[in-house]
């Protein structure tokens, strides 16, 4: 039976204390939101969440990727194919992007469940990721947060099977962004809640209950998208939710993660689900969509995932608002950031294995692993006798390092290392740590990042991060 076989999340560790917005001194311990840093966007977060979902699982069986995002950087050029490449999924993969609505995440999840149920796909990776931009000083600035959730949809060993879904469509100008806009717009908050959010959420959940012959008390956890804490409470009360049934919407910790918001709550609910638990997830946007699941006996067998709670526990507060503005490229500067003509598309094409998937090579003659790919072996000089070696999911160790204050970044220094992984040496940046913690020999893992915007488009590569326990 079709269901969710695995899940993973990604929440950027950088948090903006809401007290710091506008340049006031940050107060520790107050509400905050997760902020994708200068080297992150919807795609990098999607890859990280997907890696967390697929950790320890066989990637070769995946035959579909659906990527949901309202904030994917390209208007024309698919995100799912890029994510499939970064994950080294091979070429026989159906890829699709789902966009345009805040409920794109659950729409993608439902499409994958339908495809698996219909037998047209066997194992579909669904990733919802959003990094929506709020204008500095706007009410949305304190509201929007960044994050991603990933699910492996399969009929094989599902940890939660799908019981049914329901959707309602609605036309309302509540939250929108045109092609020309950088920032999300919103109509007056009370209008959005009273005419949009509350009636649509109520309708979709009651519609689903009707289809399933279910009622609120049947559910162990209910995950509701919500524009703010108060409207979350309004819908929860209307549904008659008890406190222990309510999945914490993480307002003041994560922020409104757009089309990844409801999927992140579902991932959080799966972390603590027990066999037989029924889960409900409902998203909102141009109508609403609700899905119901039942946890199976496999839920206890899945290796612990890097999910929502793992990510919420790892946080660095951004010291000031100015640094936040720099990291989001919201500060006026004399020069365009990292301008230039950009990377040659042909060079990018030739180097896509190394750059996007961190794939090196292993010499068949001497066994030495090396990076990047080269015709003649670095160690034994054998020619053209290599096999692929994927390094992105390996643990490396720092050989040496420096702290570069010259390279342009919102928060210098850039930590630069030579890192050894399976014997190959890579000159690679180290992030998510501070200079004083860097030591030769420290173990690292690898994270997909936006390395720069040369040529006015995002260019992706990998960075090292301190190795951590799996979950």
């Amino acid at each position: 039976m079709a269901g969710i076989a695995s899940y993973g999340a990604y929440v950027p560790p950088t948090r903006l204390p809401l007290s710091a917005i506008g340049g006031r001194p940050a107060k520790e311990g107050g509400p905050e939101k997760a902020v994708a840093w200068n080297d992150e966007d919807a795609v990098t977060m999607a890859v990280s969440a997907a890696l967390n979902c697929l950790r320890g699982l066989d990637r070769s069986k995946i035959d579909g990727v659906i990527f949901a995002s309202t904030s994917y950087p390209f208007q024309e050029k698919q995100g799912a194919a890029l994510i499939a490449k970064a994950l080294d999924l091979g070429r026989d993969v159906r890829t699709a992007d789902q966009s345009g609505s805040l409920r794109a995440g659950t729409t993608a999840l439902r499409a994958a469940l339908d495809a698996v149920r219909a037998g047209s796909s066997k194992n579909v990776l669904v990733v919802a990721s959003d990094c929506r931009m709020a204008a500095p000083g706007s009410p949305l600035e304190a509201n929007l947060g960044d994050g991603a959730a990933a699910f492996l949809v399969s009929a094989e060993n599902p940890i939660a099977t799908i019981d049914g879904g329901h959707a309602v469509a609605d036309e309302i100008v509540d939250v929108w962004r045109t092609r020309q806009d950088t920032f999300v717009h919103s109509w007056e908050e009370r209008f959005v809640v009273q005419e949009g959010y509350v009636p649509n959420l109520s309708d979709v959940v009651s519609g689903l209950f009707e289809k399933l012959g279910a009622q609120t008390s049947d559910f162990a956890k209910v995950c509701l998208y919500a524009p703010d804490r108060r409207s979350h409470g309004t819908v929860a009360r209307k549904l008659g939710l008890e406190a222990e049934q309510t999945q914490d919407p993480l307002i003041g910790r994560l922020g409104n993660a757009g089309c990844a918001f409801a999927p992140l709550l579902l991932a959080a609910a799966l972390e603590s689900a027990a066999e037989g638990d029924r889960l409900l997830v409902a998203s909102y946007g141009d109508g609403a969509e609700a899905l119901a699941f039942t946890a199976t006996e496999h839920v206890a067998k899945l290796e612990p995932r890097r999910g929502v709670s793992w990510h919420l526990a790892r946080r660095f507060a951004i010291p000031n608002y100015d640094m936040y503005l720099k990291a989001r490229n919201l500060q006026v500067t004399e020069w365009e950031s990292a301008a230039g003509p950009g990377l040659s598309a042909t060079i990018h094409h030739r180097e896509r294995d190394e750059d996007l998937a961190l794939i090196g090579q292993k010499c068949n003659a001497c066994g030495a692993v090396q990076f990047p790919n080269q015709r003649v072996c670095e160690t034994c000089f054998a020619k053209d006798d290599f096999e692929k070696a994927r390094l992105s999911d390996r643990i490396g160790k720092v050989v040496t390092y420096t702290f570069d204050f010259f390279f342009p970044t919102p928060d210098p220094p850039t930590i630069v290392t030579v890192t050894e992984v399976d014997g190959a040496r890579i000159h690679i940046q180290l992030v998510e740590t501070k200079a004083e913690f860097v030591k030769p020999g420290m173990p690292v893992e690898f994270s997909f990042r936006r390395i720069h915007m040369a040529g006015g488009r995002p260019n992706y590569y990998w960075k090292a991060t301190p190795a951590e326990e799996s979950a």
Partner: protein, 394 residues
């Protein structure tokens, strides 16, 4: 990866080529000078030094080195009106100047030419940026900043041998002092330990005073067959050795220990074999080494065999490499005070060594240098190439 076998090496170039004239323009932020202006300053000083009145007739070939020039050898041939003869451009990272010199020496040793001109130059200050350009032409190997590349030996070396920024400071202070005594240097200011410590960090452990200045400059040398040297001057200097060695990119070389840069050791082995050097510390009287960053100079002391690996800090503390020490290094203030117009640097070092060997270095003259050998050294790229030239009087 093993070092190249010296058994395959030929006899070298010792005593076949003489330097009969040298010239060097004023190094600095030469806002009002074009590359051609600097090339003319350096070359005409070298002509005068060699007593050449009609260079277009006397010079048979020109070897020029530049990293930044987009114009190729014509920039030099047009500036000097060197037409109807071979003019070639050499590029080999920071060893470009030494490599241009090597091509000139080989052209004479081969019997192809009797008198050639070598010109190294670069003009980085026309680019509108302070310091090197941050290149965004790829996504890997970022950040591409020279300070970040050369700093990669620091964490490992400091941990193994207990050295620190205090040792690096002494190199910076020494070179700043020597630069005050060189008329053509850019920076002529003594610095104190306090200045050093207060300066901003560029790429740890390198601060402002660990890093070479960025300047414009040009330097030139006139080379001839050794047996013709007397027709130019009585105190000609002989080329004892010249070596260029390539190395693997240390950022991906699986065997790099980050305690030294491999090409320096390889080039030293080759150059010492050519020059007949068995005890570098005793036979070399003065050395100009590549101090793009202070640690590069420190590692070079060891990799050239001036002292044991790991012992540099003791020799720095005892002043061995200062002007009045046992083996003075960077007598003109080095890249620290001349800056590093990349193609010019190797030839500028040869200019200084020729002056030292001829007793013409003024207040920075090393006593007894005339009777010993003089070495110059460049290392560049990631670093991936090293050049060494050894000169002597007889």
């Amino acid at each position: 990866m093993s070092a190249p076998s010296s058994a395959s090496r030929k006899r070298g170039i010792r005593d076949q080529v003489a330097i009969v004239g040298v010239g060097c323009c004023q190094f600095g932020e030469n806002w009002d000078q074009s590359p051609s202006d600097m090339i003319v300053d350096a070359a005409y000083e070298a002509y005068a030094d060699a007593g050449i009145d009609a260079p277009q007739e006397r010079i048979e070939a020109v070897f020029t080195g530049s990293v930044y020039s987009q114009k190729g050898p014509h920039e030099c041939s047009d500036a000097l009106k060197m037409f109807h003869k071979p003019v070639s451009m050499v590029s080999n990272y920071c060893a470009t100047g030494t490599d241009a010199f090597r091509y000139g020496a080989m052209a004479i040793a081969s019997g192809m030419h009797d008198v050639v001109l070598v010109v190294g130059y670069d003009k980085p200050k026309d680019r509108g940026v302070s310091g090197p350009t941050v290149m965004m032409d790829g996504v890997r190997d970022l950040p591409k900043t020279p300070a970040g590349w050369f700093a990669l030996c620091a964490a490992t070396y400091f941990e193994k041998y207990g050295a620190s920024r205090d040792d690096l400071a002494k190199i910076a202070i020494k070179n700043h002092h020597n630069g005050t005594l060189a008329p053509k240097s850019f920076l002529k200011r003594e610095i104190t330990l306090e200045d050093y410590k207060k300066a901003r960090i560029i790429s740890w452990p390198f601060g402002l005073y660990d890093s070479a200045a960025q300047t414009d400059g040009a330097a030139a040398a006139i080379l001839c067959r050794a047996d013709l040297a007397k027709s130019f001057r009585d105190d000609a200097v002989l080329v004892k050795a010249v070596s260029i060695q390539s190395g693997p990119n240390p950022q991906k070389d699986p065997t790099n220990d980050f305690l030294s840069w491999k090409p320096t050791g390889w080039a030293a082995t080759d150059a010492y074999a050519q020059a007949g050097i068995e005890d570098p510390r005793a036979q070399i009287g003065v050395a100009q080494v590549h101090d793009c960053f202070s640690l590069t100079e420190l590692l070079t002391y060891e990799d050239l065999g001036f002292c044991e690996k790991g012992s540099a800090k003791e020799h720095i503390a005892s002043g061995d490499f200062e002007l009045d020490g046992e083996l003075p290094v960077n007598t003109d203030g080095g890249l620290k005070t001349f800056g590093h117009p990349t193609g010019a640097t190797g030839v500028r070092m040869i200019y200084e060594n020729v002056l030292q060997l001829q007793g013409r270095a003024g207040p920075r003259q090393v006593k007894g240098a005339e009777g010993k050998l003089a070495l110059s050294h460049n290392i560049g790229g990631h670093p991936t190439a090293c050049g060494i030239a050894v000169l002597g009087r007889e």
